[in-house]
């Protein structure tokens, strides 16, 4: 599947600067190259790098949306405020709780479905369609669909619960302990297609010959999956887990659209605390401090993965 995008064998690199007189040609090429990089660099610096820098700077100031400029210097007061605030810790825990609820099913179910779909000869297009289609829908459409599935008493969910004899079920999105589970369920349904497609792409990189050899040796389907598919899909699984953790930590849409953080603040997540602080209270400085803290958590995940990968590569070399 990724074959069309994957690079063919790279051609031997030939230094093109040897084509013209050495020094002047090289200088000219440097100018041309930066001319080509320039447009992207402008957007990259303006809308990716500068916001990161501004986020760190304004987190140290009493910046507001009401007044121009950064406002008075606050040192670490914004961080002290956030770290001392119950709402921050509740929203951080909710974000992590959502991540814990969504990552295992989104990785495991996607893995199982991809392995099974990869073995099926006929109708693979249908399964790909069924599992991937929700992923391309806007979060707002997803929320409208699931909000009405979860509507207390009249929705499809409580109706089905009624068929199984639970005549007075608890409201899913209206009960503090259940609301996040409902949001997680919706998210698993919505985004499984992404991981499914990544796993399918990984599966297709595994050479057929290995399975054929195993079949000749009399390995059963289950044995083939256990000792060929699972280990060879290791790198893909690592990538999927990392991407999924990061995606889950950035949760905003579903909560904003389905519960608005409620009941109370029982489903409020960090990105929502950030936007509320900035756009309801107009306190950009405090919101930036909360952003920085989430930013650090997400970078830590990437870093931890990098360390694990280096360590495992090292232990492999040593063995």
């Amino acid at each position: 599947m990724s074959a069309a995008l994957a690079a063919p064998a790279p051609a031997a690199a030939i230094d093109p600067s040897t084509k013209t007189t050495p020094a002047r040609g090289a200088r000219r090429m440097t100018r041309t190259a930066w001319g080509f990089l320039g447009p992207f660099a402008v957007f990259y610096v303006l809308f990716l790098i500068w916001p990161v820098i501004y986020m760190f700077i304004s987190s140290l100031f009493n910046t507001t949306l009401v007044h121009q400029g950064l406002g008075s210097f606050a040192a670490l007061a914004n961080y002290r405020e956030m770290l001392g605030k119950n709402e921050f810790w509740v929203s951080m825990w909710n974000t992590i709780y959502f991540t814990l609820l969504t990552v295992p099913p989104l990785v495991f179910i996607a893995f199982v479905l991809a392995v099974l779909a990869n073995r099926v000869q006929r109708g693979q297009w249908f399964f790909r369609l069924a599992f991937f289609l929700p992923f391309i829908l806007p979060s707002a459409a997803i929320a409208l669909i699931w909000n009405y599935i979860f509507t207390p008493a009249t929705g499809l969910w409580p109706t089905i619960q009624g068929w199984f004899g639970d005549t007075n079920p608890q409201s899913v999105l209206g009960t503090p302990d259940l609301a996040m589970v409902g949001i997680a369920l919706t998210t698993v349904w919505w985004t499984i297609g992404f991981n499914f497609v990544l796993f399918l792409a990984g599966l297709q990189e595994i050479p057929r010959e290995i399975y054929e050899a195993a079949a000749v040796d009399g390995a059963s389907a289950w044995q083939q999956i256990k000792s060929i598919t699972v280990p060879l899909l290791g790198p893909t699984t690592g990538l999927v887990v990392l991407l999924q953790i990061i995606a889950s930590l950035k949760i905003f849409d579903q909560v904003y659209l389905m519960t608005g953080g409620g009941p109370g603040i029982s489903t409020e997540v960090v990105l929502q605390l950030v936007t509320n602080t900035a756009f309801t209270d107009y306190r950009v400085g405090a919101a930036s401090a909360a952003s920085v803290l989430l930013f650090i958590v997400i970078l830590l995940v990437t870093l931890v993965r990098e360390i694990i990968e280096r360590a495992s590569a090292k232990s492999k070399r040593e063995n």
Binding site: A4, L65, I136, A140, A215
Partner: protein, 305 residues
Amino acid sequence: MSATTNSSSGRGGVGISATAPPPRRVTTTIRSSNRIFDGVSWVVLVVAAIAWLLPSLWALKTSFTSNGTSAVGAQAILNDWALTFDSYLTLIKGGDLWNWYLASAVTGVLTVVISMFVCSLAAFALSRMNFRGKKWAMGAILVGIMIPSQVLIVPLFAELNQMGMLGTYWAVILPQVPQVIAVFVFKRFFDGLPRDYEEAALIDGASWWRIYTSVILPMARPVIAAMSIVTFVWVWNNLLLPLFVLSNPKLMTIPVGLATVQGSFGQRVSDIQASSILGALPLVVLFLIFQRQVIEGVAGSGIKG
């Protein structure tokens, strides 16, 4: 895709036709246990596929039911199989939906066009040219991949505010132009393209710009198509950015518009479901037409939003 669907040939599969070659020297017990395994796989897949299609089908069914029935509840919707297009007619006659489509189409298309041009040009320089500061530029790209852009919503808002762009389409378009992952995917693709043509062109005195436009771009069509469609889907579906930077209701994109529906439509459940169907429809059509490109783009980039 098809080349690898039969990754484990040599087993009796449920889907295999009678003329399929018999498995080589595989014992009967294993073959029959594999047949059971494949049967179970198929059942699991079908059940899962139904579970995954059900919510969308439910929304579809609700949207074709009258508001009166759907307000009563799920049981009433299941009992009433009279088809009505009232909800769709209401939405099509009302003006909001068309404004949302327009906003989403304008922002989506402009972002993709600018982004793909800028990103492929940068990837071309990184892949094909030797220049001072190249390592530095590559490092910047790798750092950029790790930046979670959603977390930057507040500083981005402040910046757009200072630039006077709030409430205009530019506030949605320009921040989404630097798709770092697209540069990465393009560079990887360009790296694998043969260099014979451009060497001949360089000897003939062609400029780098000419090599980009007439040698590289034509060969890169598939990867550009895939990334364009994936980027379009991301931009179309982005809620966070337009939600806060487009305050004018006339400029709302589809996701922002849909986010207001629940409050403004109240008990008109069928209208609400019809609007979510209509909001998703262009992407569903796009996906059905360009299924291969979408999936390749997603698998190739390996990173979402």
